[in-house]
Assembly symmetry: C2
Homo-oligomer: 219 residues x 2
């Protein structure tokens, strides 16, 4: 039995590009012996008081902790347990306002308060495979007027690759707002191409992830 | 009468470097005719459900909105009003886990849902003066092992300068964790220098901000 962890950070359910691409990846990876754990931060974000609660809770005697401290410490252990119990990871996170998902940042901040993931310790999930899906409303490539305005993907990769030490493959999809933005009308054919390419890439990566887990389970 | 807006995002009260530097800036700017509005996100973060509530609330008839939608829309208007009513701005925001403050990101996301600050509209506070204080536990300069790991300051500047169109002066303070981190012991003299320089710069910028508001009020 292998276990796949999926994190969603889109605040949309219907019409979310990251969710659609992640759905295809999961469908391509699916096997009878693969269980899936879902942490849906878009639908159920962590409380904004959890992080400080988990940071300061340990300095307070257990019977004097505030409700926020108790909740923060409990949630930190829960999300750390979820990662530790999984063999592979899918992170489906949009770029929002040229920056990171606030809910994914809150999740990382909280995770790193757990002693098992504390800065300075070796990542307990180092070397495990992960797929990062990033959807962006606009275009941020070298030719785009807003080249350099994607302040999210670099940090996502930093945390997953350099801090958590996962083996990450990145699946990006740009121009997702073209269909609903009149000023982006001329970009719609490119947007459709981008989406089809990201979906195909997700399906490939679902199959490669599944194959890798099969080999690991047989080893 | 001029009005100064101060935003704090440090989750610490005692021992916070951004709060200390901002205190000095405010003290140097203080005048009898200057009122100060404080939005303390570190002490009282916005609820993590507010943003999605404010995004989706307008698509729901007013009498059918969820409590999160009502709260999100109310908070968005409140924080937009605070900015509009101010003549100058201080943002005191740490770098956390190589990235942005989750609470500051939540504040920006929510702010931009208010129609007056909506993407595509001209910023209603364009040209007003601001000071951005960023504290960082480590060092991120060209010689540092983690050069390039500051994924926060670039986004902070992007939002304040390019999106809100404020005239921003940046006050950075690096190595703030040196005093409490044994492995950083050799960096403590540099850390003390950095702090003294940031404090002095904050006092200068408090005076220049105060002078600018005086001239504007007299004009």
């Amino acid at each position: 039995m292998s276990s796949l962890f999926r994190l969603d950070a889109s605040i949309r359910q219907d019409g979310s590009f990251t969710r659609d691409i992640a759905d295809r990846l999961v469908a391509a990876a699916a096997r009878p012996d693969l269980s899936i754990t879902i942490r849906d931060l878009g639908n159920a974000p962590l409380p904004s008081t959890a992080w400080a609660g988990a940071v300061f809770g340990p300095y307070t005697p257990a019977d004097q902790r505030t409700p926020e401290q108790v909740e923060g410490l409990t949630l930190a252990a829960t999300i750390a347990d979820e990662l530790l119990a999984s063999d592979a990871y899918i992170f489906a996170v949009p770029l929002y306002n040229y920056g990171v998902s606030q809910h994914f940042k809150a999740w990382i901040d909280l995770l790193l308060t757990d002693a098992r993931f504390a800065p300075g310790t070796e990542s307990p999930i180092a070397g495990r495979p992960a797929r990062l899906i990033v959807a962006k409303g606009g275009g941020y490539g070298p030719q785009a007027p807003r080249h350099g305005w994607d302040h999210a993907t670099g940090w996502y990769m930093r945390m997953l690759v350099d801090v958590l030490k996962l083996e990450v493959e990145l699946i990006e999809c740009e121009l997702t707002l073209a269909d609903v933005t009149p000023a982006m009308e001329s970009l719609r054919p490119q947007a459709a191409q981008n989406l089809a390419a990201a979906q195909a890439r997700a399906e490939e990566h679902g199959r490669s992830l599944s194959a890798r887990l099969t080999i690991a389970a047989a080893a």
